[in-house]
Subunit: 293 residues, 2 copies
């Protein structure tokens, strides 16, 4: 026990996340290592810090911090959830920390929310060490440990909302969740008025990925729109999400009264933010426009 305590305490330990190749990134002083494991799929690290609370990283890429995970999870989840007129059956692909599940279950219309996380060790670690896992035992929640890209193929016209809460395309098994085949399978697994959201990386440092994901989703769905949100501890702090649907418009079809009468606490999302998030700075508009020639 004494040895374990000593292992957990490093007075001079720093975590470094590289943003672009090996040339820049974020450094965070570590107060205490809480959990670390090389799983079949990836390296999991959970550690306590001085300014961000508990940090959860996969393959050296920050997934959640206590300080700002709400920014990411609220924008990924509530945009599609409020656009669907009555979301009852929801599929979350990835998202093993549980933050997206927590936000989905704030909507009382939800009858079933399936969380399909490929790595059972992420679920186990989140359950033990991350506050985001608060709804893992909710009777409406079902946790599946399968490859999301394969799991979604089992369903046709089944879900009201699909949320793609993946890691980066280069980390762990994240790459499977950025292919056209996968997006097509998501399309087919949605009901006729289904909606989807996906995290699609930083338009500042990862603009190739943003463009790729957007174009692939657009080739599959009739309605596809990028939206943006602040996310402090992700590269550049400017994060893109892609909304897609079989017809629902992300602005026209928002019921603002439903948002303003929502009873659960929200720290980022509101009806005005929803609409403002779809307004893009010129440099983001330009990176999405098809190239000439």
């Amino acid at each position: 026990m004494a040895e374990e305590r000593e292992l957990a305490h490093f007075p001079h330990l720093w975590y470094q996340e590289f943003y672009t190749g090996n040339n820049m990134g974020l450094f965070i002083k570590v107060k205490r290592i809480v959990y670390t494991k090389q799983t079949k799929y990836q390296r999991i690290d959970i550690f306590d810090t001085y300014d961000l609370g508990r940090v959860f990283a996969l393959d050296g890429i920050t997934m959640t911090t206590d300080l700002d995970e709400f920014m990411y999870h609220e924008m990924l989840v509530h945009v599609p959830m409020f656009l669907h007129p009555n979301p009852r059956k929801v599929l979350i692909i990835g998202g093993g920390d549980g933050g997206s599940l927590r936000e989905v279950l704030k909507h009382e219309s939800v009858e079933k929310a399936i969380l399909c996380e490929i790595d059972p060790d992420v679920i186990e670690a989140a359950r033990k060490y991350l506050k985001t896992s608060v709804e893992f035992d909710n009777p409406k929640a079902e946790i599946i440990n399968e490859n999301g890209a394969e799991f979604v193929r089992k369903f046709k016209g089944e879900f009201d909302v699909i949320i793609i809460d993946s890691t980066d395309p280069t980390a762990g098994e994240g790459g499977h969740l950025f292919t056209k085949d996968f997006y097509k399978a998501c399309h087919d697994a949605l009901k006729e008025n289904g909606v989807l959201s996906a995290e699609t990386e930083s338009p500042v440092y990862d603009y190739g990925w943003v463009r790729m994901a957007y174009n692939r989703i657009k080739s599959v769905f009739p309605v596809t729109r990028i939206y943006l949100g602040f996310m402090s501890t992700y590269p550049s702090g400017c994060w893109s999400y892609t909304f897609a649907s079989k017809g629902i418009d992300p602005i026209e079809d928002l019921d603002e009264e439903r948002v303003s009468s929502f009873q659960k606490p929200l720290r980022y999302y509101n009806a005005e933010i929803h609409k403002a998030a779809f307004v893009l700075p010129n440099f983001v508009r330009e990176l999405l426009e098809p190239k000439k020639g």
Copy 2:
């Protein structure tokens, strides 16, 4: 000459900017040190990097990078410039890199733009080493090296627009530019329909400063509103600006046609972004609300 080249090249040198106390921040690999000087006021560092182009820092705080300085300068400058019906005389306080001056002079109505930068070494370094200084020799520009907080007191009802482009309150002489007396002097130096913008730090890591600056400006101006923009290399990537006026409303009084017919290239700002920037996430709304009790 050979020695100078050797000094400038460090294959294993990293720049670190601390965001919050000493516990986290940004690291950037340095390709080449371009310029470095301890002036009467602050430490200036200019260096080339692999992903951000040239970086300009004061007291270890990043002021501009080639990659993203447009985000900051366009949002600081064009919001007040497009809100004023006919901006002819403009005062920029701070902003010695010249980026704000460049944006101000994109507006053809401008007859005179005074750049009041306290540190002549910043001006000299920017002129030699930073692209942002492109308009230093524009005949409409006048560069003054005085304390901005004192300089602005010389004027009554003189300016159409004042732009406060300061460093952090804790860096160099930045603290002078966050006081109530200073904001009052700015108010008095503006004409009857004058408008002002100020950079007011990150609502994620520096929320005390955001609240302080906002409340001080609000105690002086009839109209005061916070707006937000992405700024990749500033702490949290979520940057706040404060707009203030003697009556002009930041949303109602925007002439969108004037924005869409603007002939100069803009990489961030557009009329929709202008309006969207004033929409605040719940956590920012809450930090600005007066405390109860």
